[in-house]
Structures are given as structure tokens and as C-alpha cells.
Assembly symmetry: C2
Homo-oligomer: 141 residues x 2
DNA sequence: TTTTTCTGTTTGACATATCAAACACCTGTC
DNA sequence: GACAGGTGTTTGATATGTCAAACAGAAAAA
């Protein structure tokens, strides 16, 4: 089959997703604005790499820049960041709270998978995790 | 932090994993042996790409070749293929049977994730899915 | 046997993602 | 104002993974 090629058909690569997540994280204290240097430091890669990567990310409409070369997520960028963060939180919570996977491993696994999980799976997982937590509450009373 | 770089630290890339899976699949009728052409056809990429990719995969000890350029998984290759197949089956079963995700979407999601799931998560997932299926049986009686 | 087709490899190209190093431009400090 | 340091970009390099096209050799068909 060719299902395996879907892997390359994701909206964002792992790298691009983490550039956006870093901007979101860094921007929190500065009205959403972040600098190339800080993104590079956050990701542990060089300023040069970030500069090049942002060119493509900007071209695709996920970030905007101002006259001082500050970087900010576009509405579209913010949307995908929020979706990814939701998926990560959900999946990690499933791993630790439902499966009992260690916190460290759950962090690694959910980070690898956060940008790959479909909307459908995400929704069903949300429903399931909520239901699970409710039933846990009930049983413990 | 730098957890995000773990993504690149996997034993196999998605592409390499699927080369191994294809060899395993094709080899079933020929004592494990497969041809470059058939692998390429199976994956939907060119013979040239497979030829180049196999060079690296062979160098890393996942496959062996004979004098007729036939390709076969090494014991190490077979081991990782089996681990990946187990993870995929498990995760897909979780998605469809537990979460109620559609078959098509479950196929796509599990294919994206099969080579990324840790051993720890895989084991806990196996335990959970088995338990879930048992409880389903009990309730339906 | 000759010719055609198929096979595996190689080459040159492109895309992504990284690095180090050089560069130009600011922004401080003295 | 000069000089030091930080910032963003660019360039040249490497690695992976893909393509198309050219090639040589093997197999199949005529």
C-alpha cells in the first residue's frame, strides 16, 4: 500500500512544529513576539538554522515578522500550536494516568507523536480520557 | 528543553522502517528474500531510491544481500520489524476497538506512530488492550 | 541469435534540516 | 566616538530521502 507516505503529508514537520511551539512559549511575556536568537536557544540549534527555517515557515503563513525582525505566530500559526498542545497534553495524560507509563517516557513519546495524531483520534482520545477520569473518581468514593 | 530532539534519535526513520517492513512482506513467499524492484514497487518509490537507501540500511546491519543482489532481513532487522508490527497492531487496535476511531484513520495514525512508540508504552498498551478486551467479554455475557 | 525488456546502480538535481564561519548591523560601554 | 558584544543573515558543508535519466548487465522474447 501507500499509506506509509502519509507520514510526509503532514501539515508540519516535527521541526517546524517545534519552531512554532517555541515562538508561542517565548512570546508569552512579550505579547506574542519572539526573537530568532531566543528561538534558537530554546530549541538548542543555531541562529542560522532558525533564520533559514523561519523563511519557509513564514512563506507558508504560520508566522509574521515586524520591522525589527521580531517574530510572531499568525492566527493560522496559533491555531496549529493550540491543536498540537492539546494533542500532546491528551496523549501524555493517557500514557501516564491511564497506562501508567513513567512521566519521562510519556514526555518523550507524546512529544514524538503530538504533531502526527489526527483530529479524529484526538477527539476520541479526549472523550475517553475524560470518561476514564470520571470513572476513577466514582470508584474512589 | 531539548526533548524534542529525541525525534531524530530513533533507531529507524519512518522510511527505513518501511523498507524493512516491505522486505519482510515480500519475502514471505521466497524464504525471506526480496528484490530491489519489488521493494520499490511495494513502497511506490523508484528503484534508484531503494538502491541508495538499502546501502545505508545494510551498512547498519539490518539487511544482508546475496550474490544475486537479493535482499533479506538480518536477525537484527527481523527483530525490529517484529517490534514495529506489534506496536502498530496494538496501537491500531486501541484506536479502533477502544476509542472507536474509523478503520481508515486508525490505519494512517498507527502507521505514522508505529516506529516512534517506546518499549515501555508498547508494553503498557498491550496490558491495557488485553484487559479492556477481557472486560468487554465479561460485560457482554 | 539477436533484440527487447527488465534490473540494479549511478549521477545530478531538489527539498529539508542541521552545522560552523563569515558578515553586516545594532547596541551597549567606556 | 571607538570598540566589544550580541543579532540576524548568508554561505558552504553534510546527511537523509526523493526524483528522472543514463548506464551496464541479465533475462526473456523474437
Amino acid at each position: 500500500m501507500e499509506t506509509w507516505k502519509e507520514f510526509e503529508a503532514n501539515e508540519l514537520t516535527h521541526s517546524a512544529a517545534h519552531h512554532l511551539l517555541a515562538i508561542h512559549e517565548l512570546g508569552e511575556e512579550y505579547g506574542g513576539w519572539a526573537r530568532v536568537s531566543d528561538i534558537a536557544r530554546e530549541l538548542g540549534i543555531t541562529r542560522g538554522s532558525v533564520s533559514i527555517n523561519l523563511r519557509a515557515i513564514k512563506k507558508r503563513g504560520y508566522v509574521v515578522t515586524d520591522e525589527h525582525r521580531m517574530v510572531k505566530l499568525s492566527p493560522k500559526g496559533l491555531e496549529v500550536v493550540q491543536a498540537i498542545k492539546t494533542k500532546k497534553t491528551l496523549f501524555k495524560s493517557f500514557l501516564t494516568d491511564v497506562l501508567g507509563v513513567s512521566e519521562q517516557q510519556a514526555e518523550i513519546d507524546s512529544c514524538k507523536v503530538e504533531h502526527l495524531i489526527s483530529h479524529e483520534t484526538s477527539e476520541q482520545l479526549a472523550r475517553f480520557v475524560e470518561q476514564f477520569k470520571n470513572s476513577q473518581l466514582t470508584h474512589s468514593q
